[in-house]
Amino acid sequence: MSAAGIAGTVAQVGTVAGGAPGVIGAMRQVRARLEGRAGPGAAQPYRDLRKLLTKEQLVPEGTTVVFSWAPAVIAAAALVTASIVPLATLGSPMDQAGDLFAVVGLLLMGTVALILAGLDTGTAFGGMGASREATIAALVEPTILLAVFALSVPANSSNLSVMVADTTRHAGHVLSPAGALAFAALVVVVIAETGRLPVDNPSTHLELTMVHEAMVLEYSGPKLAVIEWGAAMRLTVLLGVIANLFVPWGIAAGRGGALDVFIGLVAIGAKITVAAVALATVEVFLAKIRLFRVPELLAGSFLLALLAVTASYFLVGQPG
């Protein structure tokens, strides 16, 4: 644990917290431009958050503490995740907590908080969204576990920092059949987990087709702002983790100084931007699949993850 490591982690969390709405804004702007629209600019989510924060807070009658605390839980889970995963630096003081299972658990905690909040409103839409989200989450979380597990085999550790550090030394560990399969599986589940096309349409106004949006329909004002911010951070962190698992170069080493941390921040910013733009670009050419096809898609990605695990044991490259 070093001072630079602590500073790096603080900077990492601060960058995610501050930059996440920008990531969403950039994706929307890319999408708008590709569709031939002018778009509101990448800073629009910040303006939306500012607007929501000044609005009146409406609480539906009959809701409980579950509803009122869910936004905080979601945002907190995303912030803690941002602090323990290796995004800008490998020298995080919370390194020991940066375990694969802890990260998946934290992500699931946010999902469950939102599902419960949706149910807590007692409205048909909240329940409908919660039921759909629970179905998707039940299929997504095992896939994330399996896929990252496949990547952890070469590093002999389920600690994300150790895995990332291992990849920086042995690029061959991810440039393998297991790595390719795990990558494909992870991309699919990240799309599902963050409610992007073709699983969920983040820009729809059609109440009956919504998944994520249906659960947050009853939220307003500052609480809605916190949820939107939490969802943006979740997407940012997931994109960052995937990017670093496969392309870790640029990340500050455990003993790195302030300059290394700064380079790490710039590098992860660039990686997340590239990943977000790529995701938005692909989304433009996708239509939303029928809801009953979502399990098929996720089952396919689970199979890929399973194959990745198998491959990581049997197709071991020559040591060198």
């Binding site: 569709e35 048909a124 409908m128 059609l206 087709t209 996708l286 239509a287 096809r293």
Partner: protein, 494 residues
């Protein structure tokens, strides 16, 4: 072409069911039922139409103003049952032995016994009176729950309340509760001159301005015995086709948008904008208002054939691109199937009927113009069929526009004149194939003023088809199914 004459018969209430049954058996369609308040007595008019040769039969039933009752025709025809409920709500005419004698068009906040279309109804009462309950059928069973949606929706659409009874994601039953936008359109016509009335007709349903204006104008011309020149009829047909093309193009894009394919919706909106600007350049109004009136047809200039060909090619490419996505095809195919028997029983019209294998089209069945389009049809009755009918109708419309373009030799044809041999009638009927389907107007006049106008938009016939098509459809497919029908709330609820 001259408008075919009408066969008008006055029948007693007891003769009505037998008469109606014989016309329906002879292949006629019940196009319209209208109540009339003649002062000392009430009158119900049943209009039956049949194609090839075009024939129109009217049954007039005189009713006692104090105790107006008619035998219900609901057992003979589903649309008749709905017309009777409307007539009860607006005029207080009681259909005897009606299987579902509930309110239809009258909002439950209006008091019982207040019938807005009666001449002595007075101003609309305030809404704070007793509210009649609106019973929804409750579907019971393990795991069944209800999803209420609307009447205020997240998007910019008209108001309608939908109540889904659902198990898991599968729709067991849908009840659509409409009638939130009653403007008293038919009453507003009364006392106006035909020239004033056409402005109202253009506003019955904003996306069908030309077709409703044409149906209204035809009805006035029928009543006054005005004969429009063939060139005038061709210009009118051209305008109605332009309206069809811009609306169908919007729908092609909207259907893509409802499966999250907003890229192609953007392209469709761009094409729609080009069509609206074209409309503006040839008529002076983007929605084609002001070009058609009773006896009058005006066009500023003809559309440029090259520009039309350009747009037609773009739309054809757009439809191709939408269907080239396998996800889109998967979402469209087999979704919300309305089979032919259902479409026929419910009396469906327009692209909804033609996507379910029915062949009705007023442009061919009740022609007023010497050029007619090729009939388009698909039989599967799903969202894909309704998409394909729209796509093919756009192509057929462009082809028809091309033929009409070459035949129109005068942009301001002389106003219609009274046919010397034709005596002035008190009533007239106009039948037009708007983009949604067959629009029927029937009006009565006295001393140059409208005394009663009855408007039937195709949405009136097609709304009951939406819940019928949704059996076994899943909830997240409802917006797509709804868009594939794209029914008008305002045209339905006058």
């Amino acid at each position: 072409m001259t408008v075919t004459g009408r066969d008008i018969r006055v029948v007693s209430p007891s003769e009505l069911p037998e008469q109606a049954a014989s016309w329906l058996d002879a292949g006629h369609r019940l196009a319209l039922v209208a109540g009339h308040d003649d002062g000392p007595h009430l009158r119900a008019v049943y209009l039956f139409t049949s194609p090839r040769p075009p024939q129109r039969v009217e049954l007039h039933v005189i009713l006692d103003a104090a105790h107006p009752t008619v035998p219900s025709l609901a057992a003979l025809s589903f649309p008749a049952g709905r017309f009777e409920r409307e007539m009860h709500d607006l005029f207080g005419v009681i259909p005897l032995d009606h299987p579902l004698p509930r309110r239809l068009v009258r909002h439950p906040h209006w008091p019982a016994g207040w019938y807005p279309m009666r001449h002595d109804s007075g101003p609309a009462p305030s809404f704070d009176q007793t509210v009649e309950p609106y019973p929804f059928v409750t579907v019971e069973g393990p795991g069944v729950y209800e999803i209420p949606v609307g009447p205020v929706h997240a998007g910019l659409i008209e108001p309608g309340h939908f109540r889904f009874s659902v198990v898991g994601e599968t729709i067991l039953k849908l009840k659509a509760r409409l009638w939130f936008v009653h403007r008293g359109m038919e009453k507003l016509f009364q006392g106006r001159t035909p020239a004033e009335g056409v402005h109202l007709a253009e506003r019955i349903s904003g996306d069908s301005a030309a077709a409703h204006a044409l149906a209204f104008s035809q009805a006035v011309e029928d009543a006054l015995g005005l004969e429009v020149t063939p060139t005038g009829q061709r210009i009118r047909a051209l305008l109605v086709e332009l309206e069809r093309v811009y609306n169908h193009t919007t729908d092609l894009g909207a259907l893509a948008n409802d499966v999250g394919y907003s890229l192609l919706n953007g392209h469709a909106q761009a094409i729609r904008e080009r069509l609206l600007r074209l409309n503006h350049s040839i008529t002076g109004h983007r929605l084609l208002r002001g070009s058609i009136g009773p006896g009058v047809t005006r066009l500023n200039r003809l559309p440029d054939p090259d520009q039309l060909a350009d747009i037609a090619a773009d739309i054809s490419e757009l439809a191709h691109l939408i269907l080239a996505s396998t996800t889109v095809r998967d979402r469209f195919t087999g979704t919300a199937v309305l089979n032919q028997a259902q479409a026929e029983d419910l009396g469906c019209l327009g692209y909804v009927a033609r996507a379910s294998g029915l062949a009705g089209d007023a442009r061919l069945d009740h022609p007023t113009c010497d050029e007619v389009p090729d009939l388009v049809g698909h039989g599967q009755g799903d969202v894909l069929a309704r998409f394909l009918v729209r796509r093919d109708e756009i192509a057929a419309s462009f082809e028809l526009i091309g033929r009409l373009h070459d035949l129109i030799d005068d942009l301001s044809p002389p106003d219609a004149t009274r046919h010397p041999s034709d005596p002035e009638r008190r009533s007239g009927v106009g039948i037009v194939e708007g983009w949604r389907g067959t629009i029927t107007h029937r009006l009565e006049m006295s001393r140059g003023r409208l005394t009663r106008v009855k408007v039937v938009d195709p949405s009136w016939f097609n709304w009951p088809a939406l819940p019928a098509a949704l059996a076994d459809t899943i909830v997240p497919d409802f917006p797509l199914a709804n868009k594939s029908f794209n029914l008008s709330y305002a045209g339905n609820d006058l």
